[in-house]
């Protein structure tokens, strides 16, 4: 009896933590794609053809890769922003609004600062985007700290308000005088992110995003500020007892969080559109939340999740263009991946 039990135990798959950490997300994605296949069938299309189109659009050739990375830029930045605030257990749902305000800030530089050389223009444009998004996030942080206003609802409402503000500016005071379309004039050359891969749309924003991810990882892990965010997120009462100034911390964290999302907006309008327009964000801010949750707040995870979701977005766009599957399937897949991973964590906990 004893011998058989031992032999069975050796046969079982390795209980290695790392194995599980990689396998679960992969399985979740596959499961979500499987359900996606069913939905594609419901749409009257062949899942095989559809998924082939998805793959080719995201990874098929040099240009596809470039497009995926272009999409990844705002997702990674906004995802990092949301992840930072999540780490302090602040539910910042306002990435979308912060993206818009960041774009507004970038536009201010792009339109009204003459034509500076790239080496000044880009940092200035990026800084303006960061600050504008940061202030937008800071408003919610301030209201939370001063009035205990629930940040979920406040940031959500600020999203809608930000979108309206941009819509107003773009259709009114900042409208391109040449036409009657609701967008601004082209940004000055010195504030447009240069293309880094010839004959594609891949612009320098991806470098900014990757650098930001590394910087944030380092700050959270190795600085006292990062320590304070972590403690506050785990147990705010203990943080306060320990002398951490939680009110100020919330404010600073929301500023940084909003700033990163603002940077996402800035790089998007500077690198892709080169002008400010109304609906340049197809819900990046909300996808960013899913990315932050999937990445579990760890920059490596967030980067991976951003890449995955970027591929999904590009791929499903291709699915719509070439096969006719509605692009909204991407949200279904995203939502399912999130739910599967959350549910699997529960079952993991039970086993362990």
């Amino acid at each position: 009896m004893h011998g058989i039990k031992d032999k069975l135990r050796k046969l079982r798959l390795p209980d290695d933590f790392r194995w599980r950490r990689v396998a679960i997300p992969v399985l979740a994605v596959l499961a979500a794609l499987a359900i996606g296949a069913l939905l594609i069938l419901l749409a009257g299309k062949s899942p095989l053809t559809a998924y082939r189109a998805l793959f080719r659009s995201a990874f098929g050739n040099r240009n596809a890769w470039a497009e995926t990375l272009v999409k990844m830029t705002p997702l990674l930045l906004a995802g990092m922003g949301t992840a930072v605030s999540l780490r302090a257990r602040i539910f910042n749902i306002g990435a979308e609004g912060q993206i818009f305000m960041g774009a507004l800030g970038a536009a201010a530089v792009g339109l009204f600062f003459g034509n500076p050389p790239l080496i000044i223009g880009i940092p200035l444009m990026a800084a303006a985007g960061f600050v504008a998004g940061g202030i937008w996030g800071g408003i919610a942080g301030f209201l939370k700290q001063k009035f205990q206003a629930n940040e979920i609802i406040v940031t959500l409402m600020l999203n809608y308000i930000a979108i309206e503000i941009v819509s107003f500016m773009v259709g009114g005071p900042w409208r391109d005088p040449v036409g009657t379309e609701p967008f601004t004039a082209r940004f000055s050359n010195g504030t447009i992110l240069p293309i880094i891969l010839s004959k594609t749309r891949l612009h320098g924003g991806i470098i900014i995003a990757l650098i930001a991810a590394v910087v944030i990882w380092w700050v959270i892990r190795y600085t006292t500020y990062g320590y304070r965010i972590t403690v506050t997120g785990v147990n705010p009462e203990a943080a306060r007892y320990g002398g951490i100034k939680t009110g100020r911390l919330i404010l600073i964290t929301m500023f940084i969080s909003g700033g990163l999302a603002g940077l996402a907006g800035a790089t998007e309008v500077s690198g892709v559109h080169r002008r400010l327009l109304e609906s340049f964000s197809p819900g990046y801010g909300y996808t960013a939340i899913a990315i932050a949750l999937l990445g579990r707040g760890k920059p490596a995870g967030v980067t991976l999740a951003a890449f995955l979701f970027a591929a999904l977005v590009i791929g499903t766009n291709g699915m719509q263009d070439f096969v006719g599957v509605p692009v909204s399937i991407v949200f279904i897949i995203e939502g399912l991946v999130l739910i599967f991973i959350l549910a699997s964590e529960v079952f993991q906990r039970r086993r362990g």
Partner: protein, 312 residues
């Protein structure tokens, strides 16, 4: 803008009546969410439920030709979504806020996707005959209040009746006492033999069904067609209303009516060509919600709100 046409009695009555109408989806969702939150569960996904059930109800109405069946379908859809949410947050004990966010993302996809599949190929977008507005026999004749409250479509009237009904349920029934106990102090309820998970399931499903009703309101009771921008954050505003109303249906009604009237005023001002840019008018309800959140005291929140219950 022509002020003289605004400051008339007729205009005031019109705006208030509109306000009551526009408050309807807000209040259905808010009432439903009050049940869920009083039992300790925060459902951020109500916006998503409104989206999906709005579509589901509309789609069912188109297919069956009956608006009533559409309403029914919307509510059933909402209850089902509530069931799934309850399973994730009460049984699996996944963080309620995170689950709500996942629901939001999933729902926006589902609503748009299935609408495209079902109706995307049509050249003319589909329509149904919405509920007619009618006047209640005696009550409708009361001066001032009559046209405002009692000349409405059936769903609005249902909403007006539902508010006091919910208040009675919370205060005077066994179910209301138990769900409040579960929300305030689940360990205490468990110790006397109350099944905490079952009650939470029930309340979340009620919340879902009512949110579904709220979502189905615009397509089926007023406009007769569906578009996913119809909800426009009303689910979130409803969440704010629950806080503003201190989890009390009567106060929530007051808040909802206030919002409805603001919404009505904003629409009319746009219509009348006010000099204020359209975007700032559209912003008003959202700005107002933020202000509401500053005054709503969350100290009176049900004690166990957002915390899963573990019997230790």
């Amino acid at each position: 803008m022509d002020w003289s046409s605004i400051l008339t009695y007729a205009f005031l009555v019109q705006v208030l009546a509109s306000g009551v109408r526009l408050a309807t989806p807000l209040l259905f969702t808010a009432l439903g969410e009050t049940f869920a939150e009083r039992s300790g569960v925060l459902n951020l996904g109500v916006e998503g439920i409104m989206l999906v059930c709005g579509f589901a109800g509309f789609s069912f109405a188109v297919v069956t030709g009956s608006v009533w069946l559409g309403v029914f379908a919307g509510m059933v859809c909402g209850a089902l979504m509530g069931l799934i949410f309850a399973y994730l947050t009460v049984s699996l004990k996944i963080d309620q806020i995170v689950t709500g966010l996942a629901f939001l993302i999933l729902s926006s996809g589902i609503a748009i996707f299935f609408y495209r599949i079902q109706f995307g190929h049509l050249r003319v977008f589909p329509q149904v005959e919405p509920f007619r507005q009618f006047t209640l026999p005696l009550l409708g004749k009361i001066p001032f209040l009559g046209p405002i409250l009692f000349q409405q479509n059936i769903l609005t009237l249902v909403m007006l009746v539902l508010v006091p009904v919910c208040w009675v349920i919370f205060r005077y029934t066994r179910f209301g006492l138990r769900l409040t106990a579960v929300g305030e102090y689940p360990a205490g309820a468990d110790a006397v033999g109350i099944k905490v998970p079952s009650l939470r399931y029930a309340c979340v499903m009620i919340g879902g069904a009512l949110a579904g009703l709220g979502g189905a309101y615009f397509p089926l009771a007023e406009l007769g067609f569906y578009s996913n921008s119809m909800i426009g954050g009303r689910g979130f505003i409803a969440l704010a209303l629950v806080v503003f109303g201190r989890w009390n249906p009567l106060l929530t009604l007051a808040g909802g009516l206030f919002f409805g009237v603001i919404n009505a005023v904003q629409i009319r001002m746009q219509f009348l060509g006010s000099s204020i840019p359209a975007q700032f008018l559209v912003m008003m309800p959202y700005l107002l919600t933020i202000i509401v959140m500053l005054t709503g005291r969350t100290r009176k929140a049900p004690n166990s709100l957002t915390q899963p219950y573990n019997r230790e």
